[in-house]
């Protein structure tokens, strides 16, 4: 039933309230196949709520959402076959090793050769040396990489990343960005949420801003920039940003 041409994600009039709190008040957007879509919004805007609805963890009060052509309300099992969720807080099993975490997910996705899948992903995410260690001993960046690696198992065509870099140091952030770009290069559709403008700017093909329960703008970076008055030409001495300094000192090529 899935037509390749149909958008990977279609959301229409989505509403969700927690008691008196109307978090989503009619959200509409579409995400094209193979693109990176950023849902930008401040803390509490409802990004996680939207992602949970799309990943079948929450039921909307009104509106429809189709993921990979499947309705999240009536075809939840098909949706779950099509997606992976990387939640806001790295959901790894701390007591298991990195490798065991990957094997676990591969088994739960009913794949053959879980051990080989795990080893390949450890390699791809530079976790081979740490693969035998308990995930509890990992740094924030390593946990996030493991978390994302767990989401790639089974090659789901659509991946949700809820604030993938919140709380990470700049170096780990760049590692995650790299991983997201690689995903998109392989044709995976990525919906990511973020509070950071620069993250959306760096990664996304399209950016939608979620504010007070609605999408107030939705477009490419260039389209969004044209919403503002044309840039004035000013001559200023370019100072390195603190981030440039930090990354130079710790020796990462940005």
């Amino acid at each position: 039933m899935t037509t390749q041409q149909a958008p990977a994600i279609q959301v229409h009039g989505l509403e969700k309230s927690y008691k008196e709190l109307h978090v989503l008040r009619g959200v509409d957007f579409e995400v094209a196949r193979g693109s990176i879509f950023a849902l930008l919004g401040s803390n509490g805007a409802g990004k996680t709520t939207a992602v949970k609805i799309l990943s079948t963890l929450l039921k909307p009060d009104a509106g429809t959402a189709r993921v990979n052509g499947f309705d999240v309300a009536t075809q939840a099992a098909n949706v779950r076959e099509s997606i992976s969720l990387t939640g806001q807080f790295a959901a790894v099993d701390e007591i298991l090793s990195g490798r065991e975490n990957l094997v676990l997910v591969a088994r739960l996705r009913h794949l053959k050769n879980p051990g080989r899948i795990a080893d390949e992903l450890l390699e791809r995410f530079s976790l081979t040396d740490a693969g035998g260690r308990k995930a509890a001993t990992y740094s924030g960046g390593m946990r996030r990489r493991l978390d994302i690696a767990m989401s790639l198992i089974g090659d789901p065509p659509i991946i949700f990343l809820d604030e993938p870099t919140t709380g990470l140091d700049p170096q780990a952030r760049i590692e995650v960005w790299q991983a997201v770009r690689e995903l998109a290069d392989r044709g995976t559709t990525v919906l990511l949420t973020t509070q950071y403008l620069d993250e959306a700017e760096q990664l996304a093909d399209r950016i939608a801003i979620l504010h007070e329960g609605r999408i107030i703008v939705n477009g490419t970076l260039d389209e969004l920039k044209q919403l503002l008055p044309p840039a004035k030409v000013e001559y200023v001495e370019k100072q390195p940003t603190l981030e440039d300094v930090f990354l130079t000192l710790v020796g990462t090529k940005a």
């Binding site: 963890l57 929450l58 807080f89 065991e100 739960l108 009913h110």
Partner: protein, 254 residues
Amino acid sequence: MSKHFFGDTTVLLGRSLRHITRSPDTIITTAIMPIAMMLMFVYVFGGAIRTGSDSSYVNYMLPGILLITVASGIAYTAYRLFMDMKGGIFERFQSMPTARSSVLWAHVLTSLVANLISLVVVVLVALLMGFRSGAGVPAWLAVAGILILFTLALTWIAVIPGLSAKTMEGASAFSYPLIFLPFLSSAFVPTASMPGPVRFFAEHQPVTSIVNAIRALFTGQPVGTDIWVALAWCVGILVVAYAFAMRTYRRKIS
């Protein structure tokens, strides 16, 4: 029911059992309190307690101690479930093409295994302290059956705070009253020695009939109606707790 239910439950059970073997302290902690009580009651208070029988006091009190073991063991069931909820791994599993109820059943079965190991440890210590039983294989099987039913009933109670608690303390606090219930029963002293209202409560609460049934099985006495009352209590609690736990669970996943 999903066609993957049994396979997925097995995989997730393997995961939880690995948690237990990696932190065997949960089993030791579960067994240590009942063992300490047993030592205290037998070697400190035991001489002053009249049970109306000539056999050693450890024979008299072991059934109650076994119930206390289960009551303290299920605090860890709630704890393990709570940690999965809090860490986001529960949501990860629920967003995967995995049989959804497997996540819950794996915890329930883990609780059963962990409690049975603790019970065996406590019985072994009791044997060292002079516990002797003339019970044959059928009587031992009956005792095991009652304890399994009791563990399942308490486990489903534990699932409720495990799913809904906001803090770790909240997740395990529910077990305290369950641990103290045997003190207001025939577990340590005959109910006939208690003052009126306490005695009435003791004679009509589930622990007394369960303790009396197990005690009768251990000593080769006729079990009378106690065993039916005990089974009715266990099944009744099991059914009610299961219904409430499933309601809590459905709220969580919708």
